[in-house]
């Protein structure tokens, strides 16, 4: 493709107008509920330790009195927003441009638009209700049903994710990824394959659905409790039309636990040949100072717009995806 073909946007003007309306809707939604709009840095000194997220590095000229000359485009505004919460901001939201290296496909662009918000005093259940208000108010869809991760896996894949034998998972996934690769994957990755190859496919045919109570091993930054004799994370995702739209947590507020998870992440990164990422000490200091009890969620705005406009590809709703940017 030549520059003469590449200069044009991939989204139609109607889709770009809908994007502007969506932004106005979101700001109005939060203004009515007294949630403060904030802006936090896109360029930070710390990336994320998450094994499956790769930050994009950025170099810059050092400033006076500071030798730092490299930062990272943020994969989400989470850490900075949590520092605002610890500083007493109260409920906050942000429309953020996030960057994730290497993520490109039908539904992914390395630069994308993320809505993230935090509600002090909310549980994951209360925040799910607010997500439903926001999404259904915009899309005009039915209110999402709620399914535990365990029930979703049992109903759509016929396995109990907490008790199924490793060999059964390896055999099931071997059909999709080949036997040798399946045998080398850890249990959580095998479960994620079942999720994407069977459960998500089935959910595409259903009305909007929240999945919650993920296995504790997939908690990321959520707190954990016991439900029906198993440890589950207070984490939720919303699926509409097969699209994974958001990921929310009843947030972990324990600095020591957070540090332990960061360090475990880095060990896993090193084991996979990825560089360890410096731990965000400012975030840990903020957690030590005291993060209020809160729930938070990140929601993909490009995908929300795809649903609103009935589009199948992210390129249909983004003016200039990476290849044209």
């Amino acid at each position: 493709m030549t520059a003469n073909e590449r200069w044009q946007p991939t989204a139609s003007l109607a889709d770009l107008q809908a994007r502007a309306l969506q932004l106005a809707y979101l700001r109005d939604f939060f203004a009515r509920r007294g949630v403060l709009e904030v802006e936090t840095p896109v360029l930070g000194r710390h990336g994320v330790t998450d094994l499956n997220l790769d930050s994009i590095a950025a170099r810059f000229a050092p400033i006076a009195g500071d030798s730092c000359d490299q930062g990272w485009l943020q994969t989400s505004p989470e850490y900075h927003m949590k520092r605002l919460l610890a500083a007493g901001s109260g409920s906050i939201f942000q429309v953020f441009r996030a960057f994730r290296s290497g993520e490109r496909g039908h539904r992914h662009n390395p630069e994308f638009s993320l809505l993230e918000w935090y509600r002090p005093g909310f549980t994951d259940q209360q925040l799910m209700a607010e997500v439903a208000d926001l999404v259904c108010g915009w899309l005009g869809c039915s209110r999402p049903g709620v399914l535990s991760y365990r029930d979703a896996m049992q109903r759509h894949a016929g396995i109990d994710p907490f008790t199924v034998a490793d060999e059964v998972l390896v055999q099931r996934c071997g059909a999709w990824v080949g036997e040798s690769l399946a045998a080398s994957l850890d249990r959580d990755t095998l479960l994620e394959l079942v999720m994407s190859h069977q459960v998500e496919v089935a959910l595409a045919e259903e009305s909007p659905t929240f999945i919650h109570q993920y296995p504790a091993s997939q908690a990321a930054l959520a707190r954990i409790s016991q439900v029906d004799g198993v440890a589950v994370a207070h984490r939720f995702e919303l699926y509409i039309g097969g699209l994974e739209l958001c990921n929310g947590y009843w947030e972990l507020t324990d600095a020591d636990e957070q540090r332990a998870r960061f360090e475990a992440d880095n060990r896993a990164r090193l084991a996979q040949g990825k560089p360890a990422m410096p731990v965000d000490e400012e975030l840990l200091a903020a957690l030590s100072a005291g993060l209020p009890d809160c729930a938070g969620v990140a929601l993909g705005l490009d995908r929300l717009l795809m649903l609103k406009q009935g589009r199948d590809a992210i390129d249909d709703v983004v003016a200039f995806p990476l290849e044209r940017a």
């Binding site: 998450d50 094994l51 499956n52 290497g102 993520e103 490109r104 496909g105 039908h106 539904r107 992914h108 999709w176 990824v177 080949g178 690769l181 959580d188 990755t189 994620e192 394959l193 999720m195 994407s196 190859h197 998500e200 993920y214 997939q218 990321a220 995702e237 994974e244 990921n247």
Partner: protein, 191 residues
């Protein structure tokens, strides 16, 4: 041999999977939940034409398959092989077996040009051009004057292919036929 990583997979790329040459049809990036990235790839096995779906870990790579498509002129058959000759000036000849010729058999006319897919230098498949011009060797008598519309009848062409043609077509006429659908397009000339 070169190899390709998942981020280089694009439709049309020829790769080796489990020892079979395949062409990539579709490559979809997926990243479930907070999990690791995968590529769900659709491929057609060039040995048996079956479509496979396979998921790869992002960053995994596959060996390139030595598969090339070349224009060749069909020369003759000895009953066991169908012989083709490269039109690139090399005059290189390649015998294709029945499996490689497959459905193209009924469209093969000597001196016409076909696309031959070579795997490790040997013909893997033969693709006829989208349209061929072939003579009618057998059909029921034509009904003159009935050129408007109405029924159709089978006609056997010089290669043995049987196509449905309008009633006015007669033996000896040359027809243009769409090889993808096996349908009659129009008369090329009357003899």
């Amino acid at each position: 041999m070169a190899s390709y990583s998942t981020n280089e997979f694009r439709s049309g790329l020829k790769v080796l999977l489990d020892g079979d040459p395949c062409v990539i049809l579709d490559n979809e990036f997926v990243k479930p939940g907070k999990g690791q990235a995968f590529n769900r790839v659709k491929l057609r096995n060039l040995n048996n034409n079956r479509v496979w779906e396979r998921t790869f870990k992002s960053g995994e790579s596959l060996e390139a398959a030595d598969v090339v498509e070349q224009d060749m002129e069909y020369l003759y058959t000895d009953g066991e092989f169908w012989h083709f000759m490269a039109t690139d000036g090399s005059f290189e000849q390649h015998p294709a077996d029945e499996k490689a010729v497959a459905d193209a058999l009924k469209w093969l006319k000597e001196q016409d040009i076909y696309t031959v897919t070579l795997y490790n230098g040997a013909p893997l498949s033969v693709t006829p051009p989208n349209f061929v011009e072939l003579e009618v060797v057998e059909t029921d008598p034509g009904m003159k004057g009935d050129t408007a519309q109405g029924g159709s009848k089978p006609a056997t062409l010089s290669t043995g292919a049987v196509v449905n043609v309008p009633l006015f077509i007669t033996i000896g006429e040359v027809l243009k036929v769409d090889t993808r659908t096996g349908e009659y397009v129009n008369r090329v000339k009357s003899s």
